[in-house]
């Protein structure tokens, strides 16, 4: 073959390869970027999207255009199912704009993005102690609300001041290109096709994490594995000294500043806000206590209570689920064969069955089947915080005592 003829073949094949691979990636859609049909046994499960929620969720929410928004980290992503029957019909379409590992600042920026989509009437925000507790600069005079830059923030419709983000379209074009014309996307397309079992990690089209992978681990290895791994990580995290929840001496922080801005926007635009603290298994609470951060934990709740008091009770709800309760205090599995707790996957992540109980209490809807009539959450708007914290300490002693074999 002459070099000229070879060149023709070569160029033709280059074009064919490039476009057929791009079409393949679009059809399989491993990152949920294109919303092509999810075909059972082919591309229904999206195992490679689970570590890329920061890539696709900012775009996916635009397609869903929800009236109710769940915001938070991996806990509400796994715990609050947008398809649950416990939501009120009036809440319309619900989307879980939740991101594993994203701190409070990022969650609030994500909430801004969600609100900028235009139809949101209700925002449900899961607050997490661990997002408030970290090493801070010592007692700064005034908290400022920064406009941080990152790939994730480029994907949001608005910036930290709620102004239009000029980088949004560039980011979207880049992400679309990357999801079609990269080796990662190609590899992940193949991986998606191969990994279509019932235990494959996945995200639903409403942003929920059904935790199939956790189910598989429990089935094969036992719940103790998840507990052991997570408790090790938690112990290591909370062993860091010098973490605090406030930036200023007056008890203000970046997180509260962000919440303030979010709530003020919601009030101005007649959007309802529900804040709640995520439930932890009691073993998590015990680690906080043993690490010497219990006082900070109580101050965190006090600060939230004080914070919401400045707003009308009907407009802003604050619920506490980070509690010692019938639901959170149960035996920790320590070896194979020991049952997992009814309401938790592991110390840090609650199941959506517990999420349903939380929703039924928040919205006052009778949606729980079976005998689960014991109340769980405490609405802090209506509660004296000191009495609540005192009761919690009593509750702890009582419930843990019940767990011991002698009782």
């Amino acid at each position: 073959m002459t070099t000229k003829k070879y060149l023709h073949f070569y160029l033709l094949f280059i074009l064919l390869f490039a476009f057929s691979l791009a079409i393949f990636n679009t059809v399989v859609d491993p990152y949920l970027m294109f919303h092509t049909d999810r075909i059972a046994g082919f591309n229904d499960k999206k195992p490679r999207a689970v570590n890329r929620t920061q890539l696709y969720k900012p775009y996916e929410i635009l397609r869903v255009s929800p009236q109710t928004l769940i915001v938070g980290n991996s806990r509400p992503e796994m715990g609050l199912n947008p398809q649950s029957e416990c939501w009120l019909d009036s809440q319309g379409k619900i989307y879980s704009l939740t991101f594993p590992g994203l701190g409070a600042y990022g969650q609030i920026r994500a909430a801004f993005h969600g609100l900028a989509t235009g139809n949101v009437r209700h925002i449900v925000l899961g607050l997490d102690f661990i997002d408030f507790l970290y090493k801070r600069k010592k007692n700064i005079a005034k908290v400022t609300w920064p406009d941080r830059q990152s790939d994730f923030f480029d994907r949001l419709l608005v910036d930290a001041r709620f102004q239009r983000n000029p980088d949004y379209w560039t980011a979207k074009a880049t992400d679309t290109f990357m999801s079609m014309f990269t080796l990662d996307a190609l590899f992940d397309s193949f991986y998606t096709i191969i990994d279509q079992s019932s235990s494959s990690p996945d995200r639903t089209s409403s942003g929920f994490n059904p935790a199939h992978d956790y189910t598989a681990i429990i089935q094969h290895e036992g719940a103790w594995v998840l507990f052991k791994q997570k408790m090790g990580e938690l112990e290591s995290h909370f062993s860091r000294p010098g973490m605090r929840i406030f930036d200023t001496k007056t008890g203000w922080s970046l997180e509260l500043e962000g919440l303030k801005r979010l709530i003020e926007y919601c009030l101005q635009n007649n959007i309802q806000v529900t804040l709640f603290t995520n439930p932890y298994h009691y073993s998590y609470l015990e680690i906080i206590r043993q690490a010497g951060y219990w006082k900070e934990f109580e101050n965190y709740k006090r600060s939230l209570k004080t914070f919401v008091e400045q707003y009308e009770k009907d407009r802003i709800q604050l619920w506490d689920f980070s509690l010692y309760s019938h639901y959170t205090v149960s035996l920790t599995p320590t070896k194979k064969g020991e049952r997992e707790p009814d309401w938790f996957w592991e110390p840090a992540h609650y199941k959506s069955t517990l999420g349903d109980i939380m929703l039924s209490e928040i919205f006052g809807k009778d949606c729980i089947y079976g005998n689960h009539n014991i109340p769980f959450g405490v609405r802090l708007n209506n509660t004296d915080i000191e009495t609540h914290l005192y009761k919690q300490n009593q509750q702890r002693i009582l419930l843990i005592k019940k767990l011991s074999p002698q009782s």
């Binding site: 003829k5 094949f13 691979l21 980290n73 080796l183 190609l186 052991k228 990580e233 995290h237």
Partner: protein, 524 residues
């Protein structure tokens, strides 16, 4: 600028290529060469323009010294020629010493003598080791009367030619300049473009697919060692093996890309890698690994020290010294010195063994497949052990990985695998194999990937063999290259099947230039 970037592939390379040949056609070769030098300087300064001045000073000074040495040699004024030669060598070593080793030297001086001499962190200028070595070789060759240069831009092109500027291959003036000046190389040829593009694609594929993917398995292990974690047997081996392949495919891929780009210009660069992991002994390994550096070390250090001319003891001392300096050349750190030292030691042992084998008449061993397998295995393990020092941030991290590799921290499997191998429980108990939580899929992917790359490294022909119909692989007289030419089916030729294969490789490589970022995070 990196070869494996969109800006290089889609902008710099085609634009430079087109302008170079247009200038050569309409304004003549000299103008084209000047343009190529300027383009190469632009390519270099893309990273950090500050160090462009340093490189220009180095080129200017070496050119002046070289030119003057030639003049003195022609006047038979050998004393001044020698004086200038010594000045030139001191200048180059001084430059390298200051920019690459000053911090290292001061740090160690302070430790040993408990002093507190302060020196700001000196940023290592890109490619200084390469362009300095290349110019030292030029001065030596000039002083020996092997080469000479009287045109500044010719000399500048020899140093800065962008395909080989950043990471070699290290070239000699005498093997490069005549090629640039060939009239036929001043016209673009479709065969050169296609062959060059094919070699470039193979290199790019090695870099972005094989090397970069290996990094995700090696980096976490070395990072863990840095944090002081103890590593179990399989984890440590997984990390070391992944790095072994990462480095090979990264560096040989880069060399292939350089060779391919140069070939598009009609320039043949010397082969730099020739399936090093197929080596059956460490001497052979160094004939296959970073060949142009080995050539430099042999010609300009080992032989200058006396080589093997002064008895075995001196020969081994020279070998060890050469490899220690070779180690230090790779980086200013004790880990690199140890890496070089280990290879020096391996070479000495290998030479002694050869001597002993010949003395005892045991050459027949080399005919047995089992012996070859044993030789390969021991060579490969030695190489991997040394790479641990090469990659680790410090000696204690390296030792931590080696502890794991030699089972000092026990043998364990991810729990997800361990529990699925219930039938082997009794064997696990006998050998004290335990389990650890997490890392199951990482474990499987690591060893799967290592297996694939091992197969490719050992069973597949290398780039030079694949391209043997169109590459002058013997152009620099390397005897080893006569050994293996790929089977007919794996040898590139201009036909539709190869067009299909190479277009696929090119597209996959280009797809690999960018990554879709992941957000791996353990939510507490």
């Amino acid at each position: 600028m990196l070869f494996n970037s969109y800006i290089f592939i889609f902008a710099f390379l085609p634009i430079t290529y087109a302008i170079y040949f247009i200038l050569a056609k309409y304004l003549g070769g000299e103008k084209a060469i000047i343009f190529l030098v300027l383009s190469s300087l632009f390519f270099y300064s893309w990273w950090n323009p500050t160090y462009l001045i340093l490189m220009l000073c180095s080129i200017g000074f070496n050119y002046f010294i070289g030119e003057t040495i030639v003049k003195f040699l022609k006047q038979k004024n050998f004393r001044f020629a020698k004086l200038l030669f010594v000045i030139g060598i001191i200048f180059n070593l001084g430059l390298l010493g200051y920019f690459k080793y000053a911090n290292f030297f001061i740090e160690n001086f302070n430790t040993v003598f408990d002093t507190h001499i302060k020196l700001d962190k000196i940023i290592l200028p890109l490619a200084i080791s390469f362009f300095t070595f290349q110019q030292i070789a030029y001065l030596v060759d000039t002083y020996k009367g092997i080469t000479e240069e009287f045109k500044f831009f010719h000399y500048a092109l020899f140093v800065t030619f962008f395909p080989q500027l950043i990471a070699g291959p290290i070239v000699h003036h005498k093997e490069m300049l005549p090629q640039f000046l060939k009239m036929e190389n001043m016209k673009p040829r479709l065969e050169h473009i296609l062959v060059g593009l094919t070699i470039f694609s193979l290199g790019l594929f090695k870099k972005v697919v094989f090397a970069d993917s290996s990094a995700q398995y090696s980096t976490p292990v070395f990072d863990l060692a840095n944090t002081g974690e103890t590593l179990s047997f399989f984890v440590a081996w997984g990390g070391a093996l992944s790095y072994t392949f990462q480095l090979y495919f990264d560096f040989s891929g880069y060399s292939d890309m350089a060779i391919g780009i140069a070939r598009m210009f009609g320039i043949h660069l010397p082969v730099n890698f020739f399936s090093p992991y197929k080596a059956l002994n460490i001497i052979e390994f160094w004939r296959r690994w970073h060949i142009t550096l080995s050539r430099f070390l042999r010609d300009y250090i080992y032989i200058s020290l006396g080589g093997n001319r002064k008895g075995n003891t001196r020969r081994y001392t020279n070998l060890l010294t050469t490899m220690l300096l070779g180690g230090l050349w790779h980086g200013a750190g004790w880990t690199f010195v140890l890496w070089g030292g280990l290879h020096g030691l391996y070479l000495v042992i290998n030479h002694i063994w050869h001597y002993f084998k010949n003395y005892c008449g045991m050459q027949f061993l080399d005919n047995y497949s089992l012996w070859k397998l044993f030789s390969w295995l021991i060579t490969f393990i030695c190489v991997i052990n040394a790479w641990v020092f090469f990659r680790a941030d410090n000696i204690s991290s390296a030792l931590r990985i080696l502890e794991g590799m030699y089972g000092l921290n026990g043998i364990s499997l991810p729990n997800a695998i361990y529990t699925r191998l219930d039938n082997l429980k009794s064997i696990f108990d006998t050998f004290g194999i335990t389990s650890y939580i997490g890392g199951g899929s990482q474990f499987i992917f690591t060893y799967l990937w290592v297996g694939i790359l091992l197969f490719i490294s050992l069973m597949m022909p290398n780039t030079q063999q694949i391209m043997s119909r169109y590459s002058e692989i013997n152009s620099f007289g390397h005897a080893l290259f006569n050994q293996g030419v790929a089977s007919n089916i794996l040898t590139f030729r201009f036909n539709s099947i190869w067009a299909f294969i190479m277009s696929g490789i090119l597209i996959l490589s280009i797809f690999g230039l960018a990554r879709v970022s992941e957000f791996l995070y353990f939510q507490f």
